[in-house]
């Protein structure tokens, strides 16, 4: 192989990156799969009623989110406080500081129960990110409502505005 050629340098760099990354993924304590898997999903209220607290992060739709809201489940708003203050699901908690958010969750009555995490809409990503952060903190039952605030108000559900 002629390393004077930029083309072969590119091949060499890509090859060594592939080999090292895949080899280290095999031996690391928390490897990830090569192909991403979709989150578990609860599709109906019947399925929710028949299930215990979710194990891990479970995706839910607007109907399930509404049902959980009516049952008094804690909602966590993953958006910045600035957006939270413009309007949010009543009773939801929010904080720009992760440690402060953890304290707020711990101070909630139904600590041992699952909670719902949402952000602005299906494209925001911060609800999923926060769900994983909370899961890493030891919270093992998390409902992820991807439709978020946008879908909530589109369905004329209760909202609180400051």
């Amino acid at each position: 192989m002629n390393f004077n050629s930029p083309k072969y340098q590119v091949y060499a760099l890509i090859t060594i990156s592939v080999i090292i990354s895949l080899a280290l993924n095999v031996i690391r304590s928390n490897p990830i799969s090569m192909i991403a898997q979709d989150l578990k999903k609860i599709d109906s209220i019947d399925e929710l009623a028949n299930s215990n607290e979710p194990s891990g992060i479970v995706e839910i739709d607007i109907e399930i989110a509404k049902d959980l809201y009516e049952k008094g489940t804690l909602f966590i708003d993953a958006r910045a406080e600035e957006y939270f203050n413009d309007g949010h699901i009543p009773g939801a908690i929010c904080s720009d500081e992760f440690d402060e958010l953890i304290d707020k969750i711990y101070s909630f009555d139904n600590l041992e129960k699952a909670f719902v995490v949402y952000c602005s809409d299906d494209d925001c990503g911060s609800s999923e990110e926060l769900s994983y952060q909370l899961y890493d903190q030891g919270f093992e039952s998390i409902y992820l409502f991807k439709g978020g605030w946008k879908q909530w108000i589109e369905n004329d559900l209760p909202a609180k505005y400051y």
Binding site: Q9, V10, N30, S33, M34, A36, S126, Y132
Partner: protein, 147 residues
């Protein structure tokens, strides 16, 4: 262009890629979610990208800083930076307000600031690629050929 200026550009681009690789290497799962938020990668391949890309960034960053396979590294860095800008631009066009997943600043969102930042590094990469002489480059040792 002055060889010292070219060296400066080379080291800046190298340092950016090296620095950006660390968090992604440590937590590929988070990086995979950042990629997923762009809603552009098909077939669940964000995990594969999240595993390989940080190491590619690590090796090209290291190569640029220590002067090893500079041509190959700068070609890859340019392609990556252009790709990043295309991904950021499409996310902005679709109204996504997401973490860019760049690995440089915690919570940096997609936006014009990031596009301009990447564009400056693309220019730096170009100046390194068209350099007229090798300076503090250790492998390969031969003179530059016409590009």
């Amino acid at each position: 262009m002055n060889k010292y200026l070219t060296l400066f550009f080379r080291i800046v681009v190298g340092a950016i890629f090296l620095w950006a690789s660390f968090d992604k290497i440590i937590d590929p799962a988070k990086f995979a979610r950042d990629i997923s938020n762009y809603h552009i990668v098909p077939l669940g391949l964000e995990n594969t990208i999240a595993l390989i890309l940080p190491w590619l960034e690590f090796f090209i960053g290291t190569g640029l800083i220590i002067g090893v396979m500079v041509d190959g590294s700068i070609i890859i860095s340019s392609v990556l930076l252009i790709t990043f800008n295309i991904m950021i631009a499409q996310a902005m066009a679709r109204g996504f307000n997401i973490d860019c997943g760049c690995g440089l600043k915690e919570g940096q969102l997609v936006g014009f600031e990031k596009l301009i930042e990447n564009f400056i590094f693309i220019l730096f990469s170009y100046f390194v690629y068209v350099r007229k002489e090798k300076f503090l480059e250790f492998f390969p040792k031969t003179e530059l050929s016409d590009k």
